[in-house]
């Protein structure tokens, strides 16, 4: 019994041994980046591509030696496209997994939920989906960053191009929710100075499957263009039915965001000639060196496939944070925020700048047209018609967003 007696010294020794791993961990702990995206739900395809792309950014960082030996790790969580679930998952990432940073999200409501939880705890969040609110007060905070485009920017760029090329008589067809409203507002703001005439502004509920009641009305108005402010499945169905109806003979169809994944899923015939905007299309690699490098990495990691628009944002969102860590030489929030603010970078689509006042990435918008002929491979689905160059004047001004 005497040998197993508990002395103060043995207790001290035992606790110090137990405490050792904690000390070691603190020194070369991995840099953890939480990545909540909607793996289940209607945007699952985009979300999976975002994960694949984000992983490339992580692998690159680690292959280059990390931050003085500290490796990065991606913690993917399924937010199920539900803000409540996203908030819970963000709490898990911050409280249990103790992530250093958060990137991700693929809906306006979800990114605002993640942002709310992250900013309350002073954790940097780099959002990779569209929203006009996140860079504006009261949602914005010092640790909030926005890598994606905003509806205002997207609609403005597409509007400037389309209204000058295809005529001034316009019909809007919007999905009746925030996304549709923000896009139409953006188009109208741009169109006002260009003298457009709005013939009709029609709304349809989310998840509509039959547009046949609206199409004859649109045709009888004889617009120069029909602007479809809807997303995902709604966009696919409305474009397909408008094509079947023969609307394209007289009217140009324009969509603010033309999704690469939708176009690949639906096929060339229905989308033929549709004009839209995008944050990224792999085809820009012909004259953008950084895109070529990124595409090649993606091809290598994913069996010669090519990255989608929203997928590429996953790469950019994670890479911006990791590059800032390298510049700051630290993972401390305050230092990384300073390194991110005003940063000029070219990671995949040409030059970008993280605007200091509202942490919005100033970037180019690509105007694309869906094609059905002369496709060099199954991923060659768009022609890039024009590039709306990165210009802070195209964004909402910081004053408009409520920043001092």
């Amino acid at each position: 019994m005497a040998t197993s007696k508990l002395t103060r010294r043995s207790v001290l020794a035992a606790t110090s041994i137990l405490a050792m791993p904690a000390v070691l961990r603190a020194q070369d702990a991995t840099i953890k980046i939480g990545f909540p995206v909607p793996l289940t739900g209607p945007y699952g395809t985009e979300a999976k591509d975002q994960v694949a792309c984000a992983q490339i950014a992580i692998d690159d960082f680690n292959a280059a030696g990390g931050l003085a030996g500290r490796k990065a790790e991606l913690l993917v969580r399924d937010d199920k496209l539900n803000p409540g679930e996203a908030a819970t998952r963000t709490l898990e990432l911050i409280e249990k997994d103790q992530v250093n940073f958060i990137a991700g999200s693929l809906s306006a409501a979800v990114q605002l939920a993640v942002n709310n939880v992250a900013k309350q705890r002073g954790v940097i969040f780099n959002s990779i989906s569209q929203s006009d609110q996140i860079t504006a007060l009261p949602d914005w905070s010092k640790t909030t960053f926005h890598e994606a485009m905003t509806p205002h920017l997207t609609a403005g760029a597409v509007g400037r191009y389309a209204f000058s090329k295809f005529g001034k008589k316009v019909v809007f067809l919007r999905a009746d929710y925030a996304y549709g409203d923000e896009m139409v507002d953006g188009f109208k703001a741009t169109g006002a100075s260009m003298g457009i005439e709005v013939l009709a502004d029609l709304k349809h509920p989310l998840g509509m499957t039959d547009f046949s009641t609206l199409l004859p009305r649109i045709q009888s108005l004889k617009p120069d263009m029909l602007v479809l402010c809807n997303f995902g499945r709604d966009q696919q169905i409305s474009i397909k039915q408008a094509t079947d109806f023969g609307l394209k003979k007289t009217t140009k169809i324009v969509a603010p965001i033309l999704l690469y994944t939708s176009r690949v899923a639906v096929g060339p015939a229905a989308f033929e000639g549709v004009i839209g905007g995008t944050s990224y299309y792999w085809g820009i690699e012909a004259n953008t060196p950084s895109a070529k490098i990124f595409n090649d990495k993606y091809r290598k990691a994913n069996g010669n496939k090519l990255p989608s628009d929203y997928g590429a944002l996953g790469y950019a969102g994670v890479r911006s944070i990791l590059d800032a860590c390298l510049r700051a030489g630290s993972v401390e929030t305050a230092k990384v925020v300073t390194a991110l603010e005003g940063a000029k970078y070219d990671s995949y689509k040409g030059g970008q700048e993280m605007r200091s006042c509202d942490h919005q990435s100033v970037q180019s918008v690509f105007i694309i047209e869906s094609k059905s002929k002369d496709m060099i491979n199954e991923y060659d689905v768009f022609n890039v018609l024009a590039t709306d160059a990165a210009n802070a004047d195209n964004l909402r001004s910081c004053k408009d967003e409520g920043h001092a």
């Binding site: 399924d78 908030a87 819970t88 249990k96």
Partner: protein
């Protein structure tokens, strides 16, 4: 087999046992935020179960009571700068108020009609919240419910700390459990069961069936509103999805899974459902398949729910 005397004692002290369980619960959960979620949804299911299990009314509109409480709490804090305790009080009242409105219209009907009327009225609440975006944030949800510290009688609690947050929520849940236990043990509780078992007979005995139903609905709204208010504080947002009919379906599922009409069943149901969803979705995107199969298996083999089946085995 445990001695009958011990079981009887456990039944008598069900609130004490529940509170002991609440104290050790976060330590065995994968992370604290989900433990808080289980408490909140457990309380929500408990409020629902008062109507469904005890009174025998199947409501498909309880999202309006839960979400109504959440929005009332959130709006009080965000737009009127209310302190946290007033927010919780607003949530409680908000849930009861919406329950009173929906209840007054819906209790005339019964059975499937009651379910449909509550569903329809709850959808009205959803669309009102959707349209009133200046107040509710609309599609984007209500943000900015930023409660970081809780001051109570000189006690200062850091509410951002996960364990503190859990115990604050647990304190409210424990209080609610106590109140519910008293209600069920009261003569009023007995009337609820009498109405469930035989409405005509209860009426013949001189009880006002309609008033009983109405009061039960409003009390149920109080519990659900409190759960909603706690969720608003916990997540610091109120998503518009809180009011959606899927939330109503979720609480029916939780109550069925745990065991309708049992005291502790709703918590078990909420816990099993949320844990399954959480853990399964970590390794497969087809989590819905697994959770759905588990639910079907439960309905087929344990029609009394998990907790109900355990209680039944004990009684044999």
């Amino acid at each position: 087999m445990l001695p009958a005397e011990f079981v009887a004692r456990c039944k008598r002290h069900r609130v004490v046992l529940s509170v002991v369980f609440l104290l050790i619960f976060p330590l065995v959960m994968p992370f604290k935020a989900i433990a808080v979620n289980i408490l909140i949804y457990g309380l929500f299911a408990l409020g629902f179960n008062l109507l469904f299990g005890t009174l025998g009314l199947l409501s498909f509109g309880h999202a309006a009571l839960f979400g109504g409480g959440a929005y009332a709490c959130g709006i009080a804090i965000v737009h009127y700068g209310a302190p946290w305790w007033l927010g919780i009080f607003a949530g409680l009242l908000g849930g009861m108020l919406i329950a009173a409105i929906i209840g007054a219209l819906a209790i005339r009907t019964r059975g499937i009609y009651f379910a449909m009327v509550t569903l329809a009225l709850a959808q009205c609440v959803y669309f009102v919240a959707y349209q009133a975006s200046d107040f509710t944030g609309g599609e984007n949800g209500l943000r900015g419910i930023d409660v970081r510290d809780i001051n109570l009688f000189g006690l200062h609690i850091n509410f951002v700390d996960p364990l503190n947050r859990y115990y604050v929520v647990a304190a409210f849940v424990a209080a609610a459990l106590f109140v519910l236990s008293r209600i069920l043990a009261s003569p009023f509780g007995a009337v609820l069961e009498a109405v469930r078992e035989n409405e005509a007979r209860a009426r013949a005995c001189g009880y006002d069936v309609r008033a009983t139903r109405f009061v039960a609905f409003v009390i149920s709204g109080g519990f659900c509103g409190l759960a909603g208010a706690l969720q608003a504080l916990h997540l610091s947002i109120v998503p518009i999805e809180t009011l959606y009919y899927q939330t109503s379906g979720l609480v029916v599922m939780m109550a069925l899974l745990g065991g309708m009409g049992t005291f502790f069943g709703p918590f078990i149901g909420a816990g099993v459902f949320l844990l399954l969803e959480n853990l399964v979705s970590l390794w497969t995107v087809h989590w819905q398949l697994v959770v759905g199969a588990a639910f079907v298996a439960c309905v087929l083999f344990f029609p009394r729910g998990i907790w109900g089946t355990i209680l039944l085995g004990r009684a044999k």
